[in-house]
């Protein structure tokens, strides 16, 4: 192997990928079911489950804030990492460009989510 070896900074992205993969594996299907199917279609849960006041109160609590932030940010980092590797897999070795696009979008989403959650207040 060519020496000197260059240390990879992949652990940062891999750790975020893993955390997001685990979170989405554990909670993803039920979250999609609740917000995307049960509530809009009036299945199982009361129609006003996601009423403005209730969701606002949830998101104003630090636990709710943390959960919403973790879900949005980690789902994005998980997906960004997989999509970046899939581009490589299908022969698009765009290198820095693909990296910036995938991880950049995840970063932008993370910043917007964080900022909005803080703006909503406590």
């Amino acid at each position: 192997m060519k020496r000197p070896l260059k240390r990879s900074n992949a652990p940062i992205f891999w750790a975020l990928f893993g955390a997001g993969g685990m979170l989405s594996a554990l909670f993803g299907p039920m979250l999609v079911f609740i917000t995307g199917l049960a509530i809009p279609l009036g299945l199982l849960l009361p129609a006003d489950t996601l009423s403005y006041s209730r969701v606002l109160a949830f998101v104003q609590h630090w636990i709710g804030k943390g959960f919403v932030f973790a879900v949005i940010a980690l789902f994005l980092w998980h997906a960004a990492h997989r999509i970046f590797h899939s581009l490589h897999d299908i022969g698009i070795h765009a290198g820095v460009g693909a990296k910036l696009l995938c991880y950049g979008l995840a970063l932008v989403g993370t910043v917007i989510a964080g900022y909005t959650l803080l703006a909503i207040g406590f």
Binding site: L26, G28, P29, G36, L37, V71, I83, S86
Partner: protein, 132 residues
């Protein structure tokens, strides 16, 4: 004179050549739905910050036919992600030694799926409890 002229075969379309790789590409593609769902939630969060009218309008958007179709597909895709995530786990995590013996792969997979089921039920119960 050196007669060596190694031939390097091209990689194009490698993922179509073996069912194992087709499955790999499918489970990697679930990331598209994970990303799209995160984007939906992010938009919801932004609408929430804009006030009650915006939030109610966002909830109404979720009732549209395309939104329902998207969430149905996302449910299938992310459920498949859950299944494949725990299926590969015996290979991705360090060995678990119980009573001096290595835990069998299927036990790790089953444990992961059970944890996902428990997390899902807990989440549903929590939301149900808060809405009651």
């Amino acid at each position: 004179m050196n007669k060596r002229r190694p031939y390097v075969r091209p990689m194009d379309g490698w993922w179509r050549k073996n069912p194992y790789f087709v499955e790999y590409m499918i489970h990697e593609a679930t990331a598209l739905f994970v990303a799209a769902y995160a984007a939906v939630l992010l938009i919801g969060l932004l609408r929430l910050a804009q006030g009650e009218a915006a939030w109610t309008a966002w909830l109404a958007t979720l009732q549209g036919g395309w939104a329902i179709l998207f969430h149905l597909l996302a449910l299938v895709a992310i459920s498949y992600h859950t299944y494949t995530w725990f299926k590969i786990m015996p290979r991705t995590m360090p060995p678990v030694i119980v009573g001096g013996k290595k835990l069998a792969g299927w036990v790790i997979t089953a444990g992961g799926l059970a944890a996902a089921a428990a997390a899902s039920l807990a989440l549903l119960a929590l939301v149900w409890g808060m809405a009651r």
